[in-house]
């Protein structure tokens, strides 16, 4: 294990894998193939994701994990800077936190 790389627990790794797959479906396999998507990947800076793609991502996550994930409600509670700075890891952690 390279130094500085966090080991993810099984549930977090599983959600990260699912999020990766859905991102690829939404924004296109070709584009995503050029990128390494991990917990530190920024939706804005790295993926250059469009707002409507983020909606599609949220809806796909809702279908997979149920309405408790409520991405629209979660995003609506954030300020603009939080949304712009969002990383894949924050979304993954939100989904994991909805497990309860």
């Amino acid at each position: 294990m390279p130094e500085g790389v966090d080991v993810l627990d099984a549930r977090t790794q599983e959600v990260l894998d699912a999020v990766r797959t859905i991102i690829a479906n939404v924004i296109g396999e070709d584009y995503v193939q050029e990128l390494e998507i991990d917990m530190d990947t920024s939706f804005h800076e790295d993926l250059d994701i469009e707002s409507i793609e983020f909606v599609a991502l949220g809806e796909a996550l809702g279908e997979r994990y149920g309405e408790r994930v409520d991405l629209a409600g979660w995003i609506a509670s954030m300020d603009v800077d939080d949304i712009i700075d969002m990383k894949v890891g924050r979304l993954v952690e939100h989904i994991v936190s909805c497990d309860g």
């Binding site: 924004i27 584009y31 250059d48 994701i49 469009e50 707002s51 409507i52 983020f54 909606v55 599609a56 809806e59 796909a60 309405e67 409520d70 629209a72 409600g73 995003i75 609506a76 949304i83």
Partner: protein, 275 residues
């Protein structure tokens, strides 16, 4: 997120709402976004989830926008009203709904209230462009200026080689709609909406405009023309009111929609226009 097909055109539709076993506090609310660079996300991340705590909500990408199909024809205002009616039919929303429109979405909402009044319980317009005389020419001129900007010095090289994916997607959408589709011609062919006709709109209407908006005069004109209207002017905001102050817009729109007096037309409320 689901696809709804109306007359062969596929629309991207998102429906939100309270859990199925919770009684709805009013009619469904349908959000209609603005032109070209806009899509349903501008409501999905602002008003829609707040309203969806109480009632069913539908957001959709207009023809040619977002993740809906981008056909080369069908961009008259009456086409937009037919699209909206078709989406409501396809999703089972056959009773009157409350419509919320932003900018050009407000034009569509006004057109629907005028030409398909049986569909509409109330309308909330955010920085709406009424399609009065000269509307089409003004819109087309602005859109053509926007697209001409892509031919500026070095722009084509930049777009082809360096522009971020998101920017290229936005530029493709602009060029498809403005330079390739019938949208500019269709705007000019759209059925006129004279101010005098708006006196026939009997549903309650809320009008929100920024005090620094370049189309604030349309707010006053609509407040004069619509019999059951209430004009509210938001301080320190421009035409981008929804993006600049989503919380303020929500504080005005959400309770207004929830007021039972605004859920069933026709209204008998008086007009409220600032002095």
């Amino acid at each position: 997120m689901a696809d709804v097909t109306v007359d062969g055109v596929r629309f991207n539709v998102v429906q939100l709402g309270p859990p199925p076993d919770v009684p709805r506090a009013g009619p469904p609310v349908v959000f209609v976004h603005g032109l070209i660079v806009d899509n349903l996300s501008s409501f999905y991340y602002t008003l829609a989830p707040v309203v969806a705590r109480q009632v069913d909500v539908l957001c959709y990408d207009l023809r040619g926008h977002g993740r809906s199909d981008r056909p080369l024809t069908g961009y008259r205002l009456e086409d937009a009203v037919a699209d909206l009616s078709g989406i409501l039919d396809a999703t089972g929303l056959t009773g009157p709904v409350q419509l919320v429109g932003n900018s050009f979405g407000g034009t569509i909402v006004l057109s629907t209230a005028l030409w398909a009044p049986q569909r509409v319980a109330a309308i909330a317009l955010i920085e709406a462009h009424p399609a009065f005389d000269g509307w089409a020419d003004g819109m087309v001129e602005d859109l053509e200026d926007l697209v001409e900007g892509f031919d500026g010095p070095g722009m084509r090289d930049y777009i082809a080689s360096e522009a971020p994916r998101k920017m290229r997607s936005m530029i493709d959408c602009c060029e498809d709609l403005v330079a390739k589709s019938s949208l500019p011609a269709d705007f000019r062919l759209s059925r006129p909406m004279p101010a005098a006709d708006l006196s026939g709109v009997r549903c309650p209407s809320l009008l929100l405009y920024g005090d620094c908006s370049d189309i604030l005069d349309r707010g006053f004109a609509l407040a004069d023309a619509l019999p059951c209207s209430e004009l509210r002017i938001i301080e320190d905001c421009t035409h981008s009111l929804l993006m600049e102050a989503p919380d303020v817009v929500a504080r005005h729109v959400v309770p207004w929609l929830a007021d039972p007096a605004h859920q069933v037309p026709p209204c008998d409320m008086g007009r409220t226009v600032p002095a």
